[in-house]
Amino acid sequence: MNLKRKSAIFIALLVSLLLVISGCGTKAPATSTPAPDAAKEKIKVAYVYVGPVGDAGWSYAHDQGKKYLEEKIPEVETTIIESVPEGADSERVITQLAEKGNKIIFTTSFGYMDPTINVAKKYPDVTFMHNSGYKTAENVGTYFGRIYQARYLTGIVAGKTTTTNTIGYVAAMPIPEVIRGINAFTQGVRSVNPEAKVKVVWTNTWYDPAMEKDAAKSLLTAGADVIAQHQDTPGPMQAAEEAGKFGIGYNMDMSKMAPKAVLTSAVWNWGPYYVKTVEAVKNKTWKNDQYWGPMSEGIVDIAPFGPMVPEDTKKLVAEAKEKILSNKWDVFTGPIKDQTGAVRVPEGQVMSDQDMLSFDWFVEGVDGTIPK
């Protein structure tokens, strides 16, 4: 083989390899076609996801919401773009979506905040909804859900189930959202079992099934008999299943991955909110609110109980759920003590949203520290 021919083959191969790679990397926007007889005017709705729909967690939950929207409002025409990195790249993607005539664009990760605001300035007739951020504009609103209310309810189940009075919590990153979740869960546990402790181990991952499973194992060897989690993978639930112990899932119903262990899961349910938002835009009643939806509006919930959950536990959960649904009582109502026993929220007071969004301490009953 002479050198010229060889390098020609090599370049051809390299080019074809690159084509394959780029074909896999940038996924073509998937467009779903509405019913052919849709006489009504179409509304184009777009979603930007931070992960693949297949993450079985965060982006998956949003995609379930999108599917619900398509079912309820058949005249929507949706576009999704998966695995969009946060930052400058996302600005280009969002611009493209606006350019293509999408009327409502949901950007579903914290890091899309500034790009969303920037693009919104250039497209005043498009409605932008940013998930989990705090900046709004004329045509940009934000939305999030009070998942801590669901965690409180799952805490009741854990508190009633434990016999060792040690509950393990596999925590993701030391940020207010995760800390708030642990605190709400612990409040739930202690409301039915003041003796129980919630032991926390940090993995500093959102997404490493093997490592998260091992973190759960370390809690199980330390005597925990119920495992809760904040990551997007079912690893901790599998550890509980193998040990013959119990688990509390997150993001979506995890009972399929560990049927003997999962008591229930704290789940996201974005669908109804997406329907409401699209209708509001359609009826021109949309406002640029900062929405932090409570359980009473269906944005968060708990998954169906596993068969091992007894009736009296279900009843306790139902009672607490009713209190939460009435919106007259919330999880962080005083008196609430911190780990040192000092009262942080006095009796009769309710923690403000501002304080909840900047949680940096654990409530009494949590056994663990927050890494600095």
Binding site: K199, K217, T233
Partner: protein, 310 residues
């Protein structure tokens, strides 16, 4: 908690966490011993993980899954072999491309398999009387079949490399391929074999994650273990026994972090994550200093072999 209660679960967890890395590292070890460096381990593991999972779910038999992961890992490595041996492309570039390719390709293949449980994953099966040996038993002999096979594999590869003629040829292949060629051995053919075999082992490493460690398929579930395997081969100085010890050491680092947290001792996870690479650098410095600049790496590692340039 007594010291035994702390140590035994910790070391047992280290063995499990080290097993996927060990398989991948053994694969990379024989690849590098043949003179080819393959940085596509991460991609190979992912393709192996997804192929193994898909076949295990479809057939209901995890062993078919392992077989599929070997075929898939070997097939991906074959691309590397063709590019680097036949076309003499830059091995580093080809390997990196393979990692990117494997990450995307595995995600594409596995789309429909997310959130599905595997009916019969590999589960722990205590190994008869061996499992009852105090201390040693619970650490080494109360795991799943793939862990036991990895022990045998280390023994086998060590014996093959140092006590058989083809093994001697393998070592020579990475040291001085021209001499092998002069002896009448087909350098190209042999290198193909070892690169593909190395890929097959990397595939099992991936399947261990998706079928035994955390039975499920999730995109990118190897989470960097392929890179740890590459570092491990250097750490082990291309020796299978040291690879075994290194795999458990690297695997044990995370396990240790969690167990210290349970005891109320905080240790920065970022520091722990850094340790495998820090150890590797230290070993390199130590060995180079002691042996006056000569590392025991295969002499012709990374160099394409060209008969016309002999």
């Amino acid at each position: 908690m007594s010291i035994q209660e702390f140590l035994i679960p910790l070391l047992a967890a280290a063995v499990i966490a080290g097993t996927p890395i060990l398989y991948a590292a053994l694969g990379e070890l024989i690849t590098e011993r043949a003179g080819i460096i393959n940085l596509g381990v991460e991609g190979i593991m992912l393709v192996g993980a997804v192929a193994g999972f898909m076949v295990a779910v479809t057939t209901g038999n995890p062993w078919f899954g392992v077989l599929a992961s070997m075929l898939a890992g070997g097939a991906v490595a074959l691309i590397h072999a063709f590019l680097t041996i036949t076309l003499r492309a830059n091995q580093v570039v080809s390997g990196l491309a393979l990692t990117i390719f494997g990450t995307g390709f595995s995600g594409y293949l596995g789309k429909a398999y997310i959130g599905i449980p595997v009916e019969k994953p590999f589960t722990a099966m205590p190994l008869g009387p061996l499992a009852d040996i105090p201390f040693i038993g619970p650490i080494f002999f109360q795991h799943d079949a793939l862990v036991y096979i990895s022990y045998l594999l280390v023994l086998l590869i060590w014996y093959y490399m140092y006590h058989t003629r083809p093994g001697l040829n393998l070592r020579a292949l990475g040291e001085n391929p021209a001499a092998m060629d002069a002896l009448g051995l087909n350098v190209f053919y042999l290198r193909y074999i070892y690169v593909v075999a190395g890929g097959a082992l990397g595939g099992i490493g991936g399947a261990y994650l998706s079928l035994a460690y955390a039975p499920s398929w999730l995109e990118n579930m190897t989470a960097g273990r392929g890179w740890i395997a590459v570092a491990l081969v250097i750490f082990a100085l291309w020796n299978p026994w040291r690879a075994l010890m290194g795999a458990y050491l690297f695997g044990g680092i995370d396990a240790l972090g969690f167990r210290l947290q349970v005891l109320g001792i905080q240790m920065s996870p970022f520091f722990l994550k850094m340790l495998p690479y820090l150890f590797t650098v230290l070993i390199l410095v130590f060995v180079v200093a002691r042996q006056k600049g000569r590392l025991s790496e295969p002499g012709a590692l990374g160099l394409p072999y060209d008969r016309e340039e002999r």
